[in-house]
Amino acid sequence: MHSQIDKTGIRIGMWLFLYSEIILFGGLFVLYAAYFHRYPEYFADGGKELNRIIGSANTLVLLISSFTVAASITAIQRNAKKKAVGFLLFSLLCGVIFLVNKYFEWGAKIHHDIYPNSETLVNGEPGISIFFSLYYVITGLHGLHVIIGMVLLSVSLVCILSGKVTAERFSLLDNSGLYWHLVDLIWIFVFPLFYLVL
């Protein structure tokens, strides 16, 4: 009955899905709140172990990539296919940089025997152990979302190149963009909770 594509409807569906993603992380933030209430000083100690420079760099990288994704959507609306592709490629590059940083961060921690169920944590203070368990679970789940987001952006990229996403039909890119913003948004909350906790 609706011959026209209902872009608003597709967006509503996507927003509902993003909402469920926020609730997914919400469960973890509830755990964070409860344990922060119980072990405030250990959380502060744990936070000092994390590298704020890498954390800030990653925040910056994600923020920039969010901008370039938005720019790519505007570009496709104005029929500037080449620009749209360029911006998307840059966003994907940002995603890769983020993951590489994360890899080195995790690698260094694991090298220092700080990972769930490691000797150091098991024999150390429970508050520190909880802090790092939450750190690994939340940043791990977030990293997974970064990867999912990159897959979505790549699919959109392929669709732009093959002409399936155009100035008239850009819902796929639009929704992938929304997902990418969500990934960014969650990181905006994760970053202070772990790196800047006092």
Binding site: V30, L121, P126, G127, S133
Partner: protein
């Protein structure tokens, strides 16, 4: 009306044949029937398991199974009934089939996502099946998967929890689809207060599905991580707190109770006015109470945890909130009864099942208040009283609403009528058996018999024996009901478009409906429950001579 072909003969998307037309369909009606097949399979498996449990409990000591098997069987019974029957039964089957028709449109908003949800549902079921026969066998934790037991035990908790995760995903995506359909695909002339109550209840349910399901998803992810990486978030040795697991678990699983009951209430709100030939009493009150239950029901989870060691203040607050949920539920019961008052009531199997629903659901609701109050709850916590209470609501409520829906919309879905006589016999046996089955459990619980125990003290033997007899009567009734429905395929009595004299849009289209539901743009009544034009009785309409 011109002669049309039903959705059975034309596929959507067009040009597909045979099994492919089903497995790759985008048609919400075919998906509804595919859910029906899968859900019924699981229902009978879990019904059989439940019957075996009660058989085991009929006498003291070992009757038919060993304790380990007993533990796995009650877990399996719970997991299947909750995740594969009660939650999907009404929304996934009847919601899929009817929501678009009641909204006057041709399909749900995301038809392909709908198909995907069905595959997720099947995969979830498959995972549950695999976990039965692989590794250390099915979990014996109970469907609640409480830590620390669920983390330490060797059985296949990981796989089963993954199955529940996938099923949750399927349920959430169905909810997402319904909310979007409700807002974007509703007939342009249909105002909010012209929407049938069944669709309203599905809308409220869909919100709870979207709101609450991700919480259980993350909780299950944490259980899996806890098992494989010992992250220690629920392990006191490592600074974790098992109580937080319970909070997270019930933050979903209590709202899930409303995912289970709200659609059932919607079904009853459709059936009662049709057979009372009278407009539903308090349409707006029912709409608002659905939304009220959805909101208030999300805030009461910790009433499962009075004895877990919460502060007195939390216990008090959650008790108060629990009492508040009773109000919108009571509003509905009152409205149904008031609808029948001075109506021109005509008895049919769907109506009989709805009446059984009202009775059983009321008992379930009132025993719920006993549990919601802190004092009595401490006494009956984790006893058979609780088991009986939630079976009154889940089975006496949602289960019987499901049977009622099946009998009400059977002619619409398959275009054939069933024999009333056997439907009555089956319903009455099921209803009476139900009471004989669960009332003794209420008493056993008050006397102090714990739930989930393999064995019991001699004084509980009479009650357990009687409950077992009741279970067999109930199952006999259910089998008669379903055999009767199945036999309707053999001697096909063709059903007219509107056998009952219903007024909502699904009764304005042929039975079974054509592939795009409406041949011409539907004419919307000002109010969905206006019976002024319905003068025929049901028996005249259906040639049913009982």
């Amino acid at each position: 009306m011109t002669e049309t072909q039903s959705f059975y003969t034309i596929s959507a998307p067009p040009g597909m044949h045979g099994i492919k037309a089903w497995l790759l369909t985008h048609d919400h009606k075919r998906l509804g029937l595919m859910y029906l097949a899968a859900v019924l399979f699981w229902f009978f498996v879990a019904l059989f398991l439940g019957l075996m449990l009660r058989t085991e409990l009929m006498s003291q000591g070992k009757t038919i199974m060993e304790p380990e098997l007993y533990n796995s069987v009650f877990t399996l019974h719970g997991v299947i009934m909750v995740f594969l029957f009660v939650i999907p039964a009404i929304p996934a089957i009847f919601g899929n089939f009817l929501l678009p028709i009641q909204l006057g449109t041709d399909d749900v908003f995301f038809p392909r996502l709908n198909l995907f949800s069905w595959y997720l549902f099947m995969f979830g079921g498959l995972f549950a099946l695999i976990s039965l026969f692989w590794g250390e066998g099915f979990p014996d934790t109970g469907w609640t998967f409480y830590v620390p037991f669920s983390v330490e035990v060797d059985t296949n908790v990981g796989l089963t929890v993954t199955a529940a995760f996938i099923l949750g995903m399927s349920s959430m995506l169905t909810g997402l689809n319904f909310v979007t359909t409700f807002h974007r695909k509703r007939h342009k002339d249909m105002g909010l207060m012209q929407i049938p109550l069944f669709t309203w209840s599905l809308y409220a349910t869909a919100w709870v599905q979207i709101l609450a399901t991700p919480v259980i998803s993350i909780t299950f992810v944490l259980v899996i991580l806890e098992r494989f990486l010992s992250i220690g978030l629920f392990d006191p040795d490592k600074g974790g707190d098992p109580l937080l697991y319970q909070h997270l678990f019930w933050m979903y699983s209590h709202p899930a109770v409303y995912i289970m009951i709200l659609p059932g209430m919607g079904v009853i709100s459709e059936i009662i006015p049709v057979f009372s030939r009278k407009s539903i009493f308090g349409y707006k009150a029912i709409v608002w109470s659905s939304m009220g239950i959805a909101v208030a029901g999300s805030l009461v989870w910790a009433h499962h945890m009075y004895t877990s060691g919460m502060s007195d203040v939390s216990v008090f607050i959650f008790s108060l909130l629990t009492f508040l949920v009773a109000i919108p539920s009571a509003v509905k019961v009152f409205s149904w009864v008031a609808t029948m008052y001075k109506g021109s009531i005509e008895m049919t199997p769907p109506l009989l099942l709805s009446l059984i629903f009202i009775y059983l659901f009321s008992v379930g609701g009132l025993t719920g208040l006993v549990l919601g109050a802190v004092g009595p709850d401490i006494h009956v916590h984790d006893t058979h009283f609780v088991v009986s209470h939630f079976h009154f609501v889940m089975f006496g409520g949602t289960g019987f609403a499901f049977f009622a829906a099946l009998h009400f919309w059977w002619p619409k879905m398959f275009g054939i009528m069933y024999k009333f006589k056997y439907a009555y016999v089956g319903s009455i046996l099921a209803g009476i058996g139900f009471l004989f089955h669960y009332v003794p459990m209420l008493i056993l619980g008050m006397q102090g018999m714990p739930r989930r125990y393999y064995d019991y003290l001699p004084q509980y033997e009479t009650g357990n024996f009687l409950a077992g007899i009741g279970a067999y009567i109930m199952c006999l009734g259910i089998v008669i009901m379903f055999v009767n429905l199945a036999l309707s395929f053999r001697k096909r009595v063709v059903a007219p478009a509107d056998p009952w004299g219903g007024t909502t849009l699904e009764w304005k289209v042929p039975s079974p409906p054509p592939v795009h539901n409406f041949i011409e743009d539907p004419i919307l009544p000002d109010f969905p429950y206006d019976f002024s034009g319905i003068t025929d009785s049901v028996t005249e309409n259906t040639d049913e001579r009982v």
